[in-house]
Subunit: 329 residues, 2 copies
């Protein structure tokens, strides 16, 4: 069997998780990591991984079946994405929801020209949560969908805490409110404000001599990040932060409540829930499964940009159609 040959573009948390994710799939192999840094400065998580410059990728179109793009959505992806779409099948986790149409158009144009398949906005939200919102709304059109995130670490909010003067380190958990989730489950179709859906819990390590009260106030009133939420702030030691709050756990749920029957008397709840020890590992594994889909679709002659909802689930599985019908349907 020819293995699917994967390249990783960008080697941060996500790129490292993709490296590990590929090892869980026997039909795939990692050709190498592509970085903007000096390749000799990169130490990969597993031994024997080749590291190349971004430029070297241009000569490697025959050696790589799918590039998994692991740069940031803010500044890397809008530039890198279309460049790689001109040369490779790609998968990415572009997650700036508001700009997906624009990014899709740029990727689609180049992928159609290069006759490659580029799957964008994969991961879990956007990604698996998008898929679940779609299925739920299509099945129960008389209903409402709610998405909750957490309990998990928000990297953006943790960064915001760390930028405050006097804060040495910090982690922030986004936590859904149980009463909101239960109201949705009961079919009350609540109109939920930002404050009613989630609350935020901050674990903050202070610089020596920093002013606790001033920092707590600054956090709780920070616009966009914390002002619209109930926020709890805990001051802890550096040792406690390392010991009690390791890694990047996350998760969340999509709940759809819908009604059917005469007078809509029947209520139904569809719930899709994720509880993840590692946000980058799970995201990476979703990208890797969609890399398989990109490869297969392209071999069938398909080209252009796709989102996760454009991909039939069977393309993600390493099992054959016959095997799926026999063992999984």
């Amino acid at each position: 069997m020819n293995k699917i040959r994967i390249g990783i573009v960008g080697y941060g948390n996500l790129g490292k998780s993709v490296e590990l994710g590929i090892r869980q799939n026997e039909d795939m192999e990692l050709v190498g990591v592509f970085t903007r840094r000096d390749p000799s400065s990169i130490k990969t998580v597993t031994p024997g991984v080749n590291v190349f410059t971004m430029d070297e990728s241009k000569q490697m179109t025959e050696q790589i079946d799918v590039m998994v793009l692991c740069g940031g959505s803010m500044s890397d992806m809008p530039v890198q994405g279309p460049e790689f779409a001109s040369l490779f099948n790609t998968v990415d986790g572009y997650d700036t929801h508001a700009r997906i149409p624009e990014y899709f158009a740029a990727m689609d144009k180049n992928a159609l020209e290069s006759q490659k398949v580029c799957i964008i906005a994969s991961g879990w939200d956007p990604g698996m949560f998008s898929i679940n919102r779609l299925y739920a709304e299509a099945i129960l059109p008389a209903g409402d969908t709610y998405t909750f995130w957490g309990k998990g670490i928000s990297q953006g909010h943790s960064d915001a805490l760390r930028r405050i003067k006097g804060v040495k380190d910090a982690k922030q958990y986004t936590i859904p409110k149980d009463q909101a989730i239960n109201a949705v489950r009961r079919g009350e179709m609540p109109e939920l404000s930002t404050r009613e859906k989630h609350w935020r819990e901050c674990f903050v390590v202070l610089e020596e001599g920093a002013d606790k009260e001033r920092i707590k106030q600054e956090i709780k009133t920070m616009p966009n990040y914390f002002a619209d939420y109930d926020t709890e702030v805990h001051f802890i030691t550096e040792e406690e932060l390392i010991k009690d709050h390791p890694g990047l756990p996350h998760g969340g749920l999509v709940i759809h409540h819908g009604r059917t029957g005469l007078d809509e008397k029947h209520h139904h709840v569809i719930e899709y829930r994720l509880a993840l020890d590692s946000n980058p590992d799970f995201t990476a594994n979703v990208l890797v499964a969609f890399a398989r889909a990109a490869y297969r679709l392209n071999r069938e002659g398909v080209s252009g940009a796709k989102t996760v909802v454009d991909i039939a689930p069977a393309y993600l599985s390493s099992k054959s159609a016959e095997e799926l019908r026999r063992s999984l349907i």
Copy 2:
């Protein structure tokens, strides 16, 4: 806009629910119900629905875009399915898991000849649960998937109770065991016996003078149905059965526990859960959403038999690809 014109084949619980489900979708219209009974004997749930004989369908290939097959999997579907596949796009909820490959082959042959699309084994299990098993296994290949059913009414088990001499009426609930679900969530990857996964609760109305103890024994030792389970039997009055156990609620969950990272140190749980007031209504609504997919795929020139995992989620939605990217991804 041309509406998608639907026909319903078979008018039991499921057919009636399809009739109601179509009304929730503005892009669809019901052309009529097809029955083996005398059409004049059928009273439809909503007024103004045309009722035809099965034979009349053969002259209506130009008037119907998709036939939703609502017969039984045991004896109706293996005959009806391939017959309709020769004339129409079809969707069905064929649910004899072990015979899906055989049924698929028969449907595929005829659908390829007639150049129609026939989506088989839709509904929730097989159906939405199959989709979720596939996604979970593809994303977290180092892991295990568990399916639990209930709490809900098993019609087959309720029928088995009613066949016992001295039983006037009965309903049987299949209920997953919490300790099994929690062991899966904790990542213990338990090997679960039939008895450890579910238990069965029976509500039985006796004929006058029937022997309680003999009937309880007969239930608890009934092979295939109850002998392998912990079974509780409650004797209640006919009034209580009607008042406290109405309708056909059901549900269940697919849980996948998987591991990632170096030494597989990160644990992840994916859960898909359904809580349904009406099993036939929900099943019908899944069939109706897949009817939209069958129609669209066929208009794109696709033909042959498909299962739910062969269908990209976007085909189920009444929203355009642009709208999905803008509002749902």
